[in-house]
């Protein structure tokens, strides 16, 4: 991460590179994009995320110049680009199928765009070699696309679309054709290249993990509308709607009626636009790798062994450790309570917006923030249920716990020990618990 936080979207003086202004796109009766307004800033890595048919590809094709908006304007660097044909835009696209020209060598593929605008052979060769180096393809320059692997083809497509140094690079599901391992490696490579070239990237994907990994901001789309635009952290920790919460990651949604809690909130702000406070815990400065090495190799004999600062971090919250029996739980004040089932204690969410008082709401709970145990823990929200399903993912296990009224809750634990103590198994009666800040209260 950079020293200064990259967040041009929070800076009122910053001019966006791309502006969608009330853009609507219809295909016959079908509304692909519905009155969309969106700003994308220079040097951003912007992800359009959504299920197939949500309009994300249409948005990208409008940016590339293959489609024109039915209504509204798209501005690139302050100029309306509606009606400017694709070959006249300072925008390049990396196609989902890569669209490499099969009759041309890798070298000629990368040079293709450059040859259209200049006849300076030396400059073209220089630029192509630079691109080959950037994407580590020097060895394959003389091959044809069908003579290289899928991962290499992907890099050729990237090199070709970057060769003309576009203001904006569009990536349409760029990693869709790669296998999981290669995809992960390529995601980091993409981020690296984006940083090196300083190009603005807009990526279209339906893979939320990919969007979260690479993007500076993510726009979650559904049926032609943008549901939420925010950083991956905010999207994950503070989704603004049940749709976003459900689309990104795994979530349990519990429906109920909200009731403002009598004591006013003294804790953090109640706006759902901010990351959950759990992520903002004040941390003491940490030595970096060099510091640790210096300490261990040079300073240790003089000032003694380094204390492992990592262990001095704030103690794990009640949800993580096995709770000490009968340890008192401090219930923070403020927020809302949710009455979700007859005869059950209300669920407390300290960050809940008291303005939701009396409304039907959904409490969104991430499985990793829900603890599971066999004995009753001390926590703000504690419920009893039965284990129905266990999904063992290797590093994690997800338990599906059915509560008395039939509601399913997902709880996740990290398998930190190699030999799991399989004390929780199917049909076990267990307790699930979470803190007052773990859930997000969403208006339905």
């Amino acid at each position: 991460m950079a020293e200064t936080v990259f967040a041009p979207w929070d800076d009122a003086n910053e001019k966006p590179l791309i502006r969608f202004r009330n853009v609507t796109k219809r295909f016959g009766d079908f509304v692909a994009i519905d009155d969309l307004t969106l700003d994308i800033y220079e040097r951003e890595f912007f992800a359009l995320l959504g299920p197939s048919g949500c309009g994300k590809t249409t948005m990208m094709r409008m940016l590339a110049g293959f489609e024109d908006p039915t209504e509204g304007a798209i501005e690139l660097a302050g100029q309306n680009i509606a009606g400017v044909p694709a070959n006249k835009r300072a925008v390049n696209m990396m196609f989902q199928s890569y669209a490499l020209f099969p009759h041309l060598t890798i070298w000629d593929n990368i040079a293709f765009g450059l040859r259209r605008e200049s006849s300076d052979k030396v400059a073209i060769a220089e630029r192509v070699d630079e691109m080959l180096k950037l994407t580590r393809l020097e060895k394959f320059a003389r091959r044809k696309p069908h003579q290289i692997s899928g991962g290499q083809r992907q890099r050729v497509a990237l090199a070709r679309s970057l060769a003309k140094a576009p203001k904006l690079l569009l990536l349409d599901e760029p990693l869709g054709a790669l296998d999981a391992k290669l995809r992960e490696a390529t995601q980091f490579e993409l981020m690296d290249i984006q940083e090196k070239t300083g190009t603005t990237f807009v990526i279209v994907t339906h893979d939320q993990e990919e969007a979260m990994t690479v993007a500076s901001r993510v726009a979650v789309m559904d049926e032609g509308r943008v549901m939420q635009v925010a950083t991956p952290t905010v999207i994950y920790e503070a989704p603004n709607s049940a749709y976003v919460a459900d689309f990104i990651g795994d979530v349990t949604l519990i429906e109920g009626v909200a009731r403002a809690r009598s004591t006013p909130a003294t804790g953090p702000a109640t706006s759902a636009e901010e990351p959950a406070p759990a992520a903002q815990t004040v941390r003491t400065p940490q030595p970096n790798a060099l510091g640790l090495w210096l300490h261990d190799k040079v300073l240790a004999p003089v000032i003694g062994a380094r204390k492992d600062i990592v262990r001095q971090l704030p103690p794990p919250s009640a949800t993580e450790a096995e709770p000490a029996p009968n340890a008192p739980v401090e219930v923070p004040s403020g927020g809302v309570e949710i009455d979700w089932a007859d005869g059950q204690p209300p669920l407390i969410s300290v960050d809940g917006d008291p303005a939701l008082d009396g409304k039907r709401v959904k409490l969104a709970l991430r499985p990793e923030k829900v603890a599971i145990s066999k004995s009753k823990p001390q926590a703000v929200n504690v419920l009893q249920g039965k284990v129905i399903d266990i999904a063992y993912l290797g590093n994690l296990s997800t338990y599906h716990v059915e509560l008395a009224n039939g509601t399913m809750i997902k709880a996740q634990t990290a398998n930190t020990r190699r030999v799991a103590r399989r004390d929780i198994t199917w049909e076990d009666n267990v307790w699930v618990s979470w803190s007052g800040t773990a859930g997000v209260v969403l208006d339905t």
């Binding site: 070959n87 669209a99 293709f112 070709r160």
Partner: protein, 291 residues
């Protein structure tokens, strides 16, 4: 063993249907004309050794001395070449339009291209006589709309031969080009435009090179049969059009000179072998590229 048997079948076909007839024709071309049945001498009845000892290249020498034959070969090559180019110019846009047509229409369009084959080839060529003659439909129509005031003489000119060949062999040009264009990924054109090509430039730089195999296959499928074409020049071309197919027919049936006719056929085959080998190589390359 089984593999050998599998390979043996096509080779047996080749032997029975091509090599043996060719050997027979070649042998006749080395014989002399005779008033007999069959109309040449010597035959195997004279004994193998006598027969072989009497064969000579006299007929080939005769062909090289009479410039009628050379002119006929050259004229055939010229007509076949020009017709192939014309067929390509007519067929490519049609194939392109078919490949760009909505998916639902394509089977119908394909069927329309093949539809003429359902009628006899001879009848279709005769129909062109009715269309192109001085009193034909085309002249009557042009006179009626007032474009011309005197009927155009098209029938019995090389123009009529070109029209006939283009019409007859058009499907052989369209189908391979269509199949090449149909496989063409539309995003390649978009990618070319995205990288700064105009529509036309993208067509020349991407579409044409990628349909090259279809163009080559279609051209050979038109050129090879057009070279030896007999029916179209004799029905539409009149006496003025010199084509080797017609010469062959005359020698064989009018002159009953089987040995000379066979020599003409053998030379025609040799001329065709060159494009045939090229065609074969192209097909092979295409299969390799596809693999």
């Amino acid at each position: 063993m089984r593999r050998a048997a599998l390979i043996a079948i096509p080779y047996a076909w080749l032997l029975a249907l091509f090599l043996i007839p060719f050997a027979v024709v070649f042998k006749i071309s080395l014989s002399d004309i005779a008033l007999a049945i069959p109309p040449y001498t010597p035959t195997a009845k004279d004994g193998i050794w006598t027969m072989l000892s009497q064969l000579d290249f006299e007929n080939y020498v005769f062909l090289s001395e009479d410039d009628l034959y050379w002119k006929a070969y050259l004229s055939s090559l010229q007509i076949a070449f020009i017709s192939t180019v014309l067929t390509l110019m007519v067929g490519y846009p049609m194939a392109y339009a078919m490949a760009r047509a909505p998916e639902a229409w394509r089977p119908t369009l394909l069927m329309l291209v093949i539809l003429p084959f359902w009628t006899s080839f001879l009848i279709r060529v005769y129909a062109w006589v009715g269309i192109l003659s001085n009193e034909g439909f085309l002249n009557q129509f042009l006179l009626w709309i007032g474009v011309i005031h005197e009927p155009l003489t098209i029938l019995n000119t090389p123009t009529a031969v070109y029209i006939g060949i283009v019409y007859t062999y058009l499907p052989f040009m369209i189908l391979p080009i269509y199949s090449a264009l149909d496989r063409l990924d539309g995003s390649l054109i978009e990618a070319a435009e995205d990288l700064g090509c105009s529509r036309l430039k993208a067509f020349w730089l991407i579409t044409v090179p990628l349909s090259k195999n279809g163009i080559i296959a279609g051209s050979f499928l038109v050129f090879i049969p057009a070279l030896g074409e007999f029916v179209i020049p004799s029905l539409l071309g009149g006496s003025g059009t010199l084509m080797i197919g017609k010469v062959l027919f005359e020698e064989f049936f009018s002159n009953r000179d089987w040995p000379v006719a066979s020599a003409v056929a053998v030379i025609l085959l040799l001329i065709l072998v060159v494009p045939l080998v090229l065609f074969q190589q192209n097909q092979q390359r295409q299969t390799e590229a596809g693999a």
